[in-house]
Amino acid sequence: MTNRQRNPRIIDADGHVRETDEEIIEYMSAAYRNRRDAMLYFPLTPHHGWHRSIPANDFRPSDFRVPDWREWASKLDEGNFELTVLYPTRFMHIGQIGNPPYAVELCRAYNDYLHDKFLSRDRRFRGMALLPLQDPSAAAKELRRAVNKCGMLGGILPADGLPLPLGHRQYWPLFQEADRLGCALSIHSCNSLRDNDRYLQPNEAPVQQHHVFRPDEQTKKSPARLPRSRLRLGRVLNEQDRGAS
């Protein structure tokens, strides 16, 4: 067996951080930090809603981890990964924020948090930027900042919540910026918040979570026209065969 076969090269294309509101608020502007108690009374984003990693609602504390960079790095060592590309957890719901300036603030704060708490701690951590498509020119600016200043690999397009399909002309400034930067854009699934309490039923959530993508709308336009862009769809096709259980 060759050395390469013994030690294959591995890139983890989708790992996650479990960001908390208490951490993120520290990266928000003073206007928000100074109202910390009020801001943290409700979740900063619409909440994720359910414990996916707890089988059949049988809660075991050891099942749910909120790893810091050290614990995550130990996992990279364990698997001998060259690197992992990190995505958010709670803040995947950024598309469901209705207020554009607030979305811009949250995305900047999350991206700063990710850079400070993970990307700057170990070179094997790479990140994808959260983008406020509620304000497409601000999203383009944030993508530029995240890629050029924070070393991120690209940006995340919200899978749910925006009033217009992702291919809409309104979002083209962002796609054009991604093309100029030559970076990746990724759509990662998140659960819809409709009837969120229902997702506490056993096994319902893992089926529902992957049905967010709407291909007729989202593949229509501009990503296809941009020669340097690349688009990734998170977990779209693969769960269909499992069906509801």
Binding site: G15, S53, F81, V85, R232, N238, D241
Partner: protein, 98 residues
């Protein structure tokens, strides 16, 4: 994707956007499903240049042993050695421009 293409083929060539199959050919479109039981079918339908492997750590309680996950991937009998290598390394390197 076949439904998308079927509908788009009815649009006049001058107005029609790029088809998903063309995006795949250009290596501009990727899917994360390289670790799933359906991956063999995905390779047959989409090719092995567009699939990405992921740990999803820490989301899945049953997928926290990274050595085991990697071993499972390379131990698969339903994928060629070349496909496994592309899914767990080459495709991500290209997609993320690493």
């Amino acid at each position: 994707m076949s439904k998308i293409e079927e509908r788009l083929e009815r649009v006049s060539p001058n107005e029609r956007p790029v088809l998903p199959s063309e995006l795949l050919e250009r290596k501009q479109l990727y899917f994360q499903c390289g670790e799933e039981i359906t991956t063999k079918r995905d390779v047959e339908l989409l090719g092995d240049d567009c699939l990405l492997w992921a740990s999803e750590f820490p989301h899945e309680a049953t997928r926290t042993d990274m050595r085991k996950l990697v071993k499972e991937h390379f131990g698969r009998k339903d994928l060629s050695r070349e496909a496994k290598k592309k899914i767990i390394y080459d495709n991500a390197k290209r997609f993320y421009a690493l």
